[in-house]
Point group: C2
Chain length 350, copies 2
Amino acid sequence: MDYMRSLHVKVEPTVADVAELAGVSTATVSRALSGSATVSESLRKRVQDASRKLSYKPNRIARNLRTRQTRAVGLIVPDIENPFYTSIVRGTEDVLQAADYSLVLTNSNEEPARERRCLDTLRAEGVAGIVFSSCLQQMTDYQELLDLQVPLVAVSRISAGLNVDTVTVAEAEGTRLAVAHLVKLRHKRIALINGPISLSTARERLRGYESALAAAGLPVRTELMQFTDFRQMGAYAAMKTLLQLPNPPTAVFVTSNLMTLGALQAIHESPLDIPRDIAVIGFDDMAWASSLKPPLTAVAQPGFDVGATAARLLLERLNAPARPTRHIMLDTRLIVRASCGSPAGKSAAA
Amino acid sequence: MDYMRSLHVKVEPTVADVAELAGVSTATVSRALSGSATVSESLRKRVQDASRKLSYKPNRIARNLRTRQTRAVGLIVPDIENPFYTSIVRGTEDVLQAADYSLVLTNSNEEPARERRCLDTLRAEGVAGIVFSSCLQQMTDYQELLDLQVPLVAVSRISAGLNVDTVTVAEAEGTRLAVAHLVKLRHKRIALINGPISLSTARERLRGYESALAAAGLPVRTELMQFTDFRQMGAYAAMKTLLQLPNPPTAVFVTSNLMTLGALQAIHESPLDIPRDIAVIGFDDMAWASSLKPPLTAVAQPGFDVGATAARLLLERLNAPARPTRHIMLDTRLIVRASCGSPAGKSAAA
DNA sequence: ATGAAAGCGCTAACAT
DNA sequence: ATGTTAGCGCTTTCAT
C-alpha cells in the first residue's frame, strides 16, 4: 500500500484501517457503522470519528458478497425513449434513490431476445429485485428468477401465469371514458388505432372501446379498428388507411402517445381540420399535448406513480418476502382540451 | 445446501460445483470459462459441458470483489424526462449492453445536492466509470473520483478545469445555422429564448446567435434575449414577455425541446399564426416536431450518438487508462419544415 | 497445463 | 459488549 501511495494512486480505506485508528476490532467497526444496538456509545463515537477522519466509505461489493444481497434494483423497459416508460423510470429512480438503492436500467427495445439478455445481466448483477414491463409471451425466464427468490414487480403490461406483484393503470376505464366523450359529442363513426393485441394493455384498451360503443348502442365496425405496433409510423399508416375509407371516421381514439403523433401527422397531411372534420383523443397525456394546435384531449396515465408504486412494492417485499402478491391499479383521467371541439360547438355542427 | 434444497429454494451453482462435475480444480474452471489460453482443448470442453449442464452463471459480485472492478457504468443525467437525455440514455445503454456492461442510472433532477448523492451512490456501487452531464458549478466531487482512477466522460454540458473525455455537439454552429436561416428569410427582429448562462450549452448557443446576427450586420438587442431555466413553463413565460414587447420579434429561436413546447403554447394562446406572423425554430428535433401544426423547423442534436460515443470512450479508457483525454464534438443539422414558412413565400411577404 | 491455496472487504457466528 | 475467526465465490499467484 505504501508503494502505491508513492505512485500517487489513492486507495480507499477499509474496515481494518478504521479499526486500527479507533483501536477496536473490525467487527466493532462494522457493528458501529451499521447502527447495531450492541455497541457502547463511547466506542460508537470513536469509530465514527475514525471513519470520518479517513473518509471511509464501506465497500458495497464486499458487503454484497457477504450478505448475499445487493442494494440495486433492476428495471426492464420495452422502449426507453417512450415518454410513458421514461416517467416510470423517473418514478422508480426517485423512490429507490430515497431508499439508498441504485437502479440498473435495461432496455429491451421490444425485442424478446434482447429482453432475455437484460434478464441475464440483471441476474448476473445480483439485483435485489426487478421491476419489468415485458414484451415476452413466455414467462419461463421470469419464473426462474422467481424460483431463485428474486422479487418481481410487473408494471403496465401484465402476463397471466406469473404470480408477482403488479402495478397497472385503469386502461379499459380510461378508454371507455374517452370514447364515451366522443359519443356524447354525437360521433357515430369512431375509429380505434391500437397496439398489438398480444399485449394486455392493447386488449384492455380494446375492451374499453367496445364497452363504450355498446353502451351507446353503436356497432363495432372492423374497418374502423386498426392494429399496429406501438410506434409512430405504424399509426401514421393506420390513420392514412382510415382516411381513405369510403366512409371515413369522424373521430379517432389512438391508444398511445407515439402512435398519436403518427396519426396527427397523417391528418395534418390531409385537408382535414381538427376538430372541425375529425376529433382526436390520445392515450397518454404528454408534455407536448398542450403545445399542439389544437391542444390535444388525452387520457392521462400516471407514469411516475406507476414506477414509484412498483419500487415501493418491491422494497416492501424485500422486507416481507412471504407477503401475498398485491395488485395495484392506478386511475386514469380524461384531460379535455380542444381536439374534439367544445361540446357546445360540436352539438351545433353535428 | 441439501437442507435448503429440501425447502425448494433453488441455489445458484458455483465454480466448485462445476469443478466437481468436470473433475477439475476451480482454477481450471475459471480459466476455461474466461477464455484463458493456458487450458487444453479437452479440459475446456469438459468444463463447458459441465457449466452448461448446471446452467452455471458466474457470480459477478464475487468476481468484482476479487478483480477490484465491476462491469457496471454509472450515468448521471440532469433530467431523465427530457427526451434529449433519454436519447443519451438509450445510446449509452445500447453500447454497454453490447459490451456486456450494465448501466446504473441516476437522475440529478438539476439539483446539485442530489447530484452529489448520485455520485456517492455510484462510488459505493463501485462502477467502473461514469458518464455524466452535470448541473454542478464546482467539480471537486468529480475530481475526487478522478483521483481514485475512476474514468469519467462528460456529455453535452462540460466544465472547465476537469481533465476528462468529453462528448459535445456543435451547439454554436447549429444555432448559427438556424439564425442564419431566419436572417435569409429577411427577419430583422429575431428573439432568443435561452437556458441559464451558467451552463456551457447555453453559452455556446448564445455565441452562435450573436455570431449569426453579427454576420448579417444585425444588432444584438437585449430585450429580445430571454434567459430562463431549461423547462417548459419558463419558456412559456419568456415567450409571453416577448409577445408583449412594443415591437415584438418576427422570429424566435428556442434553445431546447421542452422550452420550445412552452414557447409554442404561448404563441397558440395569442392571435399570432405560425409562420405568417412569427417564425419559430427549436433546438432539438423531437418525435413530435413533424406532428405539430405547422411542422417545426429544428436543429437536430444526435442524442443517441452522444450517449453511444461517450460509452465507447469510456470502454476504451478502461482498456487504456493512461490515454490522453479526447474531446469529440458531434454535428448538428438544420431540419427545415414549415414553421418559418417557405423561403419563397416569406420573401414575398417580407 | 493444472492444482492448491491465498485473499479481495466485509459481516456474522461463535467465543469470551 | 467486544474480539476472533470463518467464509461469501471468485481469480490469481505460486507450486508442480
